[in-house]
Symmetry: C2
Subunit: 529 residues, 2 copies
């Protein structure tokens, strides 16, 4: 027996239609690389997306074809998303910070037909065009080409219809080993994920929200914000430039209430605040994801009266896995307890499920202590990578995230490490992330990386690599003294080395594989001694 | 081409599973008719629902079977919802305030197999049991039977699985003409509707919310709150008694932040506040629906610092059609402008669409002036009534609501009347609702009803029936003077009659059909004069 309600495919064009019809006048502001500001609104985005869909159709784009972008955050990039999806295609956002070899692999593997790009990336195009085998059309976003393409259409276009299980977006993971892998989002998964993000315990979006997403549009679907924002009538402020001064100015001029980005962008903002005394006056929710936020960052934002939403997820999870939000007893907690809670990675919204399993595959209790590999499943979690031969999730849908975590009794998840970064000392696990976070809390330490290196007795012991803050002369002894207050004694690094800089991935994460390679033959001071 | 994300049926038992796993300790408090208070939590509701599903299976309940309730708001009623749905059945909430003839028709039409009921409704059972032809099992919620049934099960039960398009709930509309009609909600429509309700612009639910729904569980699925609350980790406070003193006490003792109900319940609350000086201290969102909230009620609640969400919907729309929420420019509006906006019925969330058509079927502009029949479509809107032979919606999904409305340029919808209640005077429409709302704003007027009665020249003219407040001697002249400031001169009623009481439907709405019948031969004073 079937129910009596209406058929309704959960398709992404319905989101932009809703934004156009119900929130058409809500603005989309862009600060461009040349310092100019342009303004459009959701009605304008929808209108231009229809025109772009027409243009793509004329270029010969067929249902399911991939349309790539190499672009920063701006309104034309947003038009490209909805236009490519609207014509029945798949928007494929490429991270321009990847190495050439990866850029070539990804565009060819995706069989991209069209590439939209910012002119700042023209050198990449010039360099790699001969190696890109499937791209027939190149359109620059900001040299007039894109605007001409739009202007040549009449906009009389009806969005492509079809099944909600069809794909709408492709994002590759920038893994540190092997070839990048593509995650193929569906209309359905994207709509359900966006409905989830609007909720108060996730991004808390409404027509009163003004969001400046610092997270780039080429990172994990910009954390889904272009979809959730349209759905909720959020005003967007985009900046093609990630500079503390510009961001702070935009936040105040446009009365930005919501922002989202990786921890490093907040460090840049803090530097600007310290240097000038300026601060964002209207912010009320800052979402931090991508990697763990240091406690000092969480504290500083909270003391500004801002809710800090510590999020965890990955490209394979659309990306929201968990998000921190005040629990029922929030007002009864001390400030320190509140910070403790916010420093963890939050809880799952309805839809996704988490579990932690040990090396034998046994499910661990939610006791806040039993750590293991974090697994996730749900409607916006990957089943199979693009063009892969086998599923990425097991038969029950569990996808192994590669993270090591504990789950607290209240359901709050806490990442303790990446499974491949865990330091295995005498059969016990030392969290490299906790060591690093403790180290950056020490005055004078700008950045730190902990890796396991060979030890004849313990198998592995921690080596800590530290970048000093400019002008600091912090010593090994001072750092060790600081660490003693924050980690177990047997976790203390056997050696601390000071370096000028640390290697990072294209998404700004520490490149531990490179460090492990570099120090694989390093003889620890404790062993040498 | 299909996408790469996981299969996931949007089934209601996933909601209670989520509540159990992630918000298990959030309380469900019940104030019973005998004045006692019991406490359970989402884990307890889930545990008991599994046991109830086992019990229902043993009773012979099969997939798709209807399981009825005649009950007020309490935790066992909530268990019955999730238990009946969990076994693969359809929960059918019956409004105990209906007439016997309707109660007989509904249960037989639904072919209910089991009936759970409050002992206060035992007389209904005793009276109608001989006429109910399909009910095999009667279980009283509050005489020990229900608890015994639960206690006899071990709870080792896995929720029935199946398609998300299967039905999960049946609610009959208590129309004022013809036989009641059943609306058969689906798992999918219910889950999508609940995800929508959690959003900030609808019910704004999170683990910090404490909701006391005054709307009964037998009214339009309790406005979906039992599902949205479980999804979001909301604490519920139920009262089987709707008394201003009890409600106010519960709201303060349990720190209730959210409440929802028809306008009359707030009138009762105001009377208690005026008599005692007490007020609900923690309320921050009051949702008013079912019929239009008078301006004075909106103002009073807003002056208490409470957000008033004026909602519109019907059983056929699950029920959320529109909900009022602050727009982007809220802070720039004067208090009067804010009240104006809140007095309208709000905007659609993502998913549903509205339009207004005139008598010729032409779509009217969103100009805030062009009124016509309100139509709606979307994933949680009815396609076909239960066991009907034809669709209730047209080929494009548009369902005619029977309401008359305008849509403002910002998308805000404003109900002006029920289409059958509109007074047609000389080819123009007079809104009976606006006349009534203006009249109750006059000091001394407790309630008012406007109906059209025959007029030889104008076809129809308004007759206003007024119930005076206790002790008031307000006159026809005083009311007319008041009305002159609020409605067009040609809208002024031709006659005002004072009556002791007005007839209401089982859901508390004015029974205009009875009034029209009673006054169909009334000769207006203006005609007689």
């Amino acid at each position: 027996m079937l129910g009596g309600m209406q058929d309704f495919e959960l398709r992404v064009p319905r989101i932009i239609e809703h934004a156009e019809r119900e929130h058409g006048q809500r603005e989309i502001v862009t600060y461009w690389a040349d310092g100019t500001i342009t303004r459009t609104n959701w009605a304008g985005i929808a209108r231009d997306a229809r025109k772009l869909a027409q243009a793509l159709e004329k270029m010969g784009v067929k249902r399911g074809d991939r349309i790539a972008t190499l672009g920063m955050n701006h309104s034309r990039h947003l038009v490209a998303w909805y236009g490519a999806i609207g014509v029945g295609g798949v928007i494929h956002t490429i991270n321009p910070r990847l190495f050439d070899e990866q850029l070539v692999y990804i565009a060819n593997h995706a069989e991209d037909k069209v590439l939209f790009y910012d002119k700042v990336f023209q050198p990449i195009i010039d360099r790699l065009r001969p190696q890109w085998t499937s791209i027939d059309h190149y359109v620059c976003f900001d040299n007039g080409e894109f605007e001409q393409l739009i202007a040549a259409q009449d906009g009389d276009y009806a969005w492509a219809e079809g099944s909600e299980r069809e794909p709408c977006m492709l994002c590759y993971t920038s893994g540190t080993t092997g070839n990048p892998k593509g995650v193929l989002y569906e209309h359905r998964s994207t709509v359900i994920h966006a409905m989830t993000e609007v909720q108060p315990s996730v991004f808390d979006l409404s027509p009163r929200a003004v969001a400046l997403p610092i997270v780039p549009m080429f990172h994990a679907a910009a954390w889904g914000l272009p979809f959730a924002g349209a759905m909720s009538g959020t005003k967007f402020v985009y900046s093609a430039v990630n500079d503390g001064k510009v961001l702070c100015r935009l936040m105040n001029e446009e009365k930005v209430t919501h922002s989202a980005g990786v921890p490093t962008v907040w460090l840049a903002m803090f530097q600007h605040m310290d240097a000038t005394g300026e601060k964002p006056e209207h912010l009320r929710l800052v979402t931090i994801g991508g990697s763990a936020a240091p406690r000092a960052m969480v504290e500083r934002l909270m003391k500004m009266g801002i809710r800090v939403g510590h999020a965890w997820g990955m490209t394979e999870t659309s990306p929201i896995g968990t998000m921190g939000a005040p629990p029922g007893n929030w007002d009864e907690l001390s400030f320190e307890e509140q910070v403790d809670l916010v420093c963890r990675q939050g809880r799952v919204p309805f839809g996704v499920e988490l579990r932690v399993v040990n090396d034998e595959g046994a499910i661990q209790p939610r006791d806040g202590e039993s750590s293991g590999r974090l697994q996730i499943r749900g409607p916006w979690v990957i089943k199979r990578y693009f063009q892969a031969d086998a599923d990425a999730a097991d038969a029950d849908g569990w996808f192994d995230t590669g993270d090591v975590a504990v789950i607290h009794p209240c359901g709050t998840m806490q990442i303790t490490d990446r499974s491949k970064d865990v330091i295995k000392s005498g059969g016990e696990w030392i969290s490299s992330v906790e060591l690093e976070n403790a180290a950056v809390g020490c005055p004078g330490v700008a950045e730190a990386a902990a890796i396991g290196v060979y030890h004849p007795r313990w198998d592995e012991r921690p080596l800590l690599l530290v970048v000093r803050k400019p002008g600091s002369d912090v010593t090994e002894g001072q750092i060790l003294d600081h660490l003693k207050n924050h980690v177990a004694k047997w976790w203390l690094p056997d050696e601390i080395l000071f370096v000028d800089e640390l290697p990072h991935t294209a998404t700004g994460k520490l490149l531990k594989t490179a460090l492990r390679e570099q120090y694989k033959d390093h003889q620890l001071a404790t062993v040498a001694a």
